[in-house]
Symmetry: C2
Subunit: 422 residues, 2 copies
């Protein structure tokens, strides 16, 4: 049980070394990591084949098996993604405030790495390379604790990356893969508040709640995305329909997919029949209230749990509401602070929608599917936060740093008697 | 035991109302709060007299009693401080990123209030007004849980402020004072992770550890300030001595006071005799190693715990070190990530000192006593964070907000088939 603490300390020491590298050296490190993924492709794919075989033996099928699977093309995509991270602007060293005080001291706020980041995740082995690249780009050590389903893939990927890191003269422990997958070891990792600066869980709600409940280290998380589209009276019906279809059917399993449609009563006669039919034509099951069911065929009556549901599937909850206020009240009650969308041509209503909701991302006349680090211009995404601290919404490289103060003086003192003393 | 949850929910509802107010309305609210402190001065001072009487009956004396005491001048200072907060720039609504993506969506990051902030603090009743003003200025609800020693003072101050808030048409519960001071009630407050967005403990190390260990809500804290001054070979001895005296004797009880002096061996013969004598002339007890003791009289041998000690008194630990690296290793081992100072005329050494240390504030040729929200230009200070997340170092109004995404589009969708569909 002491091993995880020792491993975390080694990661912290290597991270201190990494933090001293300049931008070019860190980017060179990332490119070497990408090259290593390409060079070790055979070993990684062979390891992945063992994970797939074991998963099939356990009866895993469908999407779960697909998430676990690597092939030459996916692996090439993975190394390409690491190279893209190398090309992103470096947040480390950015000066976010530069101010000379009346006494002449110069006060700067400068971005520095967080330190050591623990990623706790499930199934998908690509997270191993993605998260490592983002954390290391921002000068951090990373402790990766993936799921047992992907242990061979994760080990092969981490081995390739660690060898590349060591070959660049940085301690390989800056990337530490936890291979002891016992729950008590994860618990111990989450208690290391003197070493680990941040834990980011990625996976199902069960995993995330487990991490949030047991961590003594800071955690950034989101449980789920129950995203709403509100179609205002003034909405352009065609525009609203595009957002609806894109949000629900573009990638139903994503956390930024729409889960609930709210339609203002004054536009329901125009919008609902056409919208419900279009959804159904794409295979979406519509669970609607009386206002929806009275205006379209084939609507399943909305159930007690549907308003709060994250379906992650071709299913949508739909309601007609009497006013913008009613829509806001519904979203406040059932929303998950992830992403909320209004379709409207009325600026005042758009402003009211934005101001009234706490969500991390609020969209006016744009698809919820843009709620993503890459789409929002962050370059890459390490996760999404629905915690209102440090970062809120999609998190890019900047969220893996913190600002600190650097002060330059010429001998200034605060207490005048000390200025005069010599 | 349900009452604290109900109270916190009421605070959150009132905070949602507050967050809708514009800057002018929030500033007017703060000025009304300041006026109420002046108008209710007699009631507040009478309440404070009861706290003082009880403290004296318990045998409290000296600094502790002084921290608890209010008088007309201190109360006037308190209302003046609230008015100053009203005059500070408003962080809420600040746009920190404004970017049009290639597809035409406009992505802004906008500062919004955190939500509900719980302040857990001891003795000093001025925190009740200070913290309330800062939290409310930034659009947040605040739950104040002060110590039992100040319960009458805190209640009188909170009553005055709440009446002023209600008179401005905002729910008084936006400022909620916890008067049930049982430990289990504080525990329950710290578990309300669905309501409380941040807890800030201010007080002794025991209180802060208790909060950090039991909270399920995010906590920003600092345990202690073990601040070092390193006098480099190249230092201007007079400048270094000013920083030393200012840092140690300016206000020894402050967390940004110096606790340890490290002197490069190559300047020790010049610096140590004069510096130790000057400290002693001001009543400072110097606990030094052999390198110090061999160069000055009256040095107490340094003890095992002195390197890690936060003396908060006219006592300093002092050592001679062989190199900048030795100083950095010492600070890394014993520092508290609060504030570290180098006196040097060598730019390369200054850069190395800055880059090698993790501390929240790093100073070159300036007094550690400037490590303070007001002195660094933040306008006011809600606390100091040595947690490397969200905020690091002195925290002003900005640290009481978080940035979220606001996206404006014209019907853009992410999946091309939906753009073409209608």
């Amino acid at each position: 049980m002491r091993e995880i603490r020792t491993a975390a300390l080694a990661c912290r020491d290597a991270a201190a070394q990494l933090a001293m590298l300049d931008t070019d050296a860190r980017n060179a490190l990332l490119r070497a990591m990408a090259d290593a993924l390409d060079a070790q492709a055979d070993a990684i794919l062979a390891a992945n084949a063992r994970d797939i075989e074991a998963a099939e033996a356990r009866g895993t099928t469908g999407a779960l098996l697909d998430r676990l699977r690597l092939d030459a093309a996916r692996l090439a995509g993975l190394s390409a993604a690491v190279r893209e991270v190398a090309e992103l602007p470096d947040p480390v060293g950015q000066v976010t405030r530069d101010d000379v005080r009346p006494n002449g001291i110069r006060v700067r706020k400068v971005r520095v790495p967080l330190g050591v980041i623990a990623m706790i995740y499930e199934a998908r082995p690509n997270v191993t390379a993605d998260a490592a690249a983002l954390c290391i780009k921002a000068g951090n050590g990373v402790i990766l604790r993936g799921g047992s389903e992907a242990i061979h893939s994760n080990t092969a990927i981490a081995d390739a990356l660690r060898a590349a890191i060591a070959a660049q003269g940085v301690g390989a422990d800056v990337l530490t893969l936890v291979t002891d997958l016992r729950r008590e070891t994860m618990l111990e990792l989450l208690q290391l508040s003197d070493i680990v600066d941040l834990a980011i869980p990625r996976g199902g709600e069960g995993l995330i709640r487990f991490v949030a409940e047991h961590a003594r280290v800071p955690v950034i998380k989101h449980y789920k995305g129950v995203c709403h589209l509100f179609v205002d009276t003034s909405a352009d019906p065609g525009l609203a329909l595009r957002l609806l279809l894109d949000g629900k059917t573009g990638r139903p399993s994503a956390c930024n997919a729409l889960e609930t449609l709210l339609v203002h009563a004054d536009i329901a006669d125009v919008f609902v029949p056409r919208a419900i039919e279009a959804l159904q034509q794409r295979g979406v099951e519509v669970r609607g209230d009386a206002g929806i069911a009275s205006r379209a065929d084939g609507v399943v009556p909305i159930g007690d749990d549907d308003d709060a549901a994250e379906f992650l599937d071709l299913v949508i909850a739909a309601r007609v509401v009497d006013s913008l206020d009613a829509a806001l009240a519904h979203i406040r009650r059932f929303g998950s602070d992830h992403t909320e969308v209004i379709a409207t041509q009325d600026d005042a209503n758009a402003r009211r929608f934005i101001a009234s909701l706490r969500a991390a991302v609020v969209m006016v006349n744009a698809s919820s599917r843009f709620s993503d680090g890459g789409e929002l211009g962050l370059g890459a995404e390490i996760g999404i936060s629905t915690t209102r601290l440090h970062a809120y919404g999609p998190m890019g490289l900047e969220a893996l740093t913190v600002e600190r103060f650097v002060v330059d003086g010429a001998g200034q003192v605060r207490h005048a008697e000390n200025a005069a003393a010599f």
